[in-house]
């Protein structure tokens, strides 16, 4: 019988550990990966082309669907680019709300990441812990925008509406008794800010809990330490951003280095890894969760003390309120024009980026002065990370492929766009 030196394994496109739809063609030598060829694009929806055929505001909803676990950060980059083109700046309160929701989004994203990463590597419990907390934050999304995930909350000129005065409560049901209902609504008696503050107080403990399950766990360490080491030089070469770059020991965070909105007034630390392996990237993200809580607390404090508008009143860009519209002819015209034709931007090209949970998410808009972008290019952090797949798994075992996928925090909505 002839000896087979290498063989090919087809991983995906439908595989629970593929984090979506990824087809990975692996060339194996025994159990060692010699070469990995990711086939992406199975979730390609041509978001950028669709955006070229719609007025600017109608594409905000598409941004949610790119990286569908960090929805508002994607909106943020797109909205920032439009605002740069139009030369407008949202009111201060809207900027604080945006920063707060960016950090809520970061927690949402990192919770999904730790849940999925744990599940891939074999730690089931973390998943349940993480998803319980995610539920609370999604309620915040819902309270503020009406949608649990695809919020379309950020608009050019501010945010869609102010934070609600009361947090929605669970209602009576035959499936829960009064005692249970009272427990579930305990944090929901006050305003939304009270709810988020109560969450922050509790969540610090949850991070500790998750850490006790994983950080010193022997199996977790065996699976993560020294797997997929990326040197700082390679990380830059490969276009890594976000926790992937910081895990390799480069202190780079757009929130600090090129601050947008009110991040320059926030007090927070940037965690940095040392060895650039999967374990360091895990530690970096866990610390980011704590820092996010810190930022949210600062936002809550400011938002409590300061009121004000959350949207500009320039009706050439921002639609008038319904009340105004029914009172005033001019407002009616503005409303009609904005919702049929949209607004035109001055011609030009802009690039705006935010520190999304996965890395630098950027929107590059080419405008020729029309009511639609001439070309929209989205810079998705996951695309660059996925491109490094081959380099990161080469020489590792088949089981490590799953670890590497987990550590990259891949979501195919943004990779395939």
């Amino acid at each position: 019988m002839p000896e087979i030196s290498s063989y090919t394994v087809n991983f995906g496109p439908q595989h629970p550990a593929a984090h979506g739809v990824l087809r990975l063609v692996l060339e194996m030598d025994g159990e060692v990966v010699r070469h990995a060829d990711p086939h992406i694009g199975l979730l390609h929806r041509a978001t950028e082309k669709l955006a070229e055929t719609k007025p600017f505001n109608q594409s905000i909803g598409y941004m949610d669907r790119l990286d569908y676990v960090s929805m508002m950060c994607n909106e943020h980059a797109y909205v920032l680019a439009i605002e740069k083109l139009l030369g407008i700046k949202p009111p201060e309160r809207a900027q604080y709300i945006r920063v707060m929701f960016d950090e809520i989004t970061r927690i949402l994203n990192h919770l999904l990441w730790i849940g999925a990463h744990g599940l891939d590597v074999g730690a089931m419990t973390v998943f349940l812990y993480a998803f319980k907390e995610r539920e609370e934050l999604m309620d915040c999304y819902e309270a503020v925008s009406g949608a649990r995930m695809h919020a379309t909350y950020y608009r050019p000129g501010g945010v869609y509406r102010d934070l609600p005065e009361r947090m929605p409560k669970y209602r009576e049901s035959e499936f829960r008794n009064d005692k249970e209902l009272k427990r579930m609504n305990a944090d929901r008696e006050g305003s939304m800010l009270d709810f988020i503050e109560a969450f922050c107080d509790r969540f610090v403990g949850t991070i500790e809990e998750i850490e006790t399950l994983l950080t010193d766990n022997r199996i977790w360490k065996q699976r993560l330490v020294d797997v997929a080491v990326v040197s700082p030089e390679r990380a830059l070469q490969l276009g890594f951003t976000g926790p992937m770059l910081r895990g390799s020991g480069i202190e780079w965070d757009l929130r600090r280095k090129q601050p947008y909105e009110v991040y320059d007034r926030m007090d927070f630390d940037i965690p940095v890894g040392r060895t650039g392996d999967c374990y360091d990237r895990y530690l970096v993200r866990m610390e980011e969760l704590r820092q996010s809580v810190r930022i949210i607390r600062q936002c809550i404090e400011w938002l409590r003390r300061n009121g004000g508008p959350v949207m500009l009143t320039d009706h050439k860009v921002v639609p008038p309120s319904r009340e105004e519209m029914k009172d005033d002819m001019e407002s009616l015209i503005h409303h009609f024009k904005l919702f049929t034709e949209g607004y035109c931007t001055p011609p030009g090209e802009v690039y705006a980026s935010v520190e999304a949970p996965k890395g630098e998410f950027g929107a590059y808009i080419v405008s020729d002065g029309a009511n639609k972008p001439y070309r929209l290019k989205l810079r998705a952090p996951g695309f660059a990370h996925m491109a490094a797949m081959d380099e990161m798994v080469r020489g590792h075992m088949l089981a490590d492929v799953v670890t590497v996928m987990g550590t990259m925090d891949i979501v195919f909505g943004e990779v395939d766009r």
Binding site: K54, P346, E360, Y364, G369, R379, A384, A387
Partner: protein, 243 residues
Amino acid sequence: MARSPEKVLEQVRSALGEWIVDSRCEYGEAEVEVAPDNLYRTLEWLRDSELLAFDQLLDIAGVDYAAYGQDEWITDEATNTGFSRGVDGFSTGRLGLTGIYGVQPIETSTGRRFAAVYHLLSVRHNHRVRVRCFAADDDLPMLDSIVPLWAAANWQEREAFDLFGILFNGHPDLRRILTDYGFVGHPFRKDFPLIGNVEVRYDENRGRVVYEPVSIEPRVLVPRVIRDDNRYADPATQEASDA
């Protein structure tokens, strides 16, 4: 940012004067344009120069300028018949397309249709620059591959090739990346219809997935409008036309 975009632009210009075709600083962003012959060495210099040290390539964006500045409605004066319905007009998605609307030709000056835009970032010095390069030939757009400079360029060039058909000379593995296996055409070109050319369905008789021409009509919900808004007008040119 540590260094202002004007400063970055000035440094690039003073070092690479003759390679730079055009440069501008708008919206607080530095942008330079280079000829395709100088693309590789410009980017190489930007990466290696101690002064600028662009150590990261963030993105390569392909752009098709075929329909730049074209709109679908006459907005200068209202007609006595009213405006047309959006669905009847030409649209950029129908450039070069034959159908009930006739053919809308692609009108561009040669060599100004396809461009690749490189977004560079210097982590060391904390500044950015954008480099644009128009491919010399519209029918066979070709640029030099920069994979030897940044490993990140590999997939980004594959994407620009897949979506715009820009060929990258010297790329190690120029395959399609986002579209389907066996896909025909380059979908982000302005002459590629938004609804696509083929649709797929499962054929029970043949027991496999079959490809057929699309059965839906292309339509435009909101027409593309360019308004000469006086708020955005350049005051200098405005005065010149008034005089």
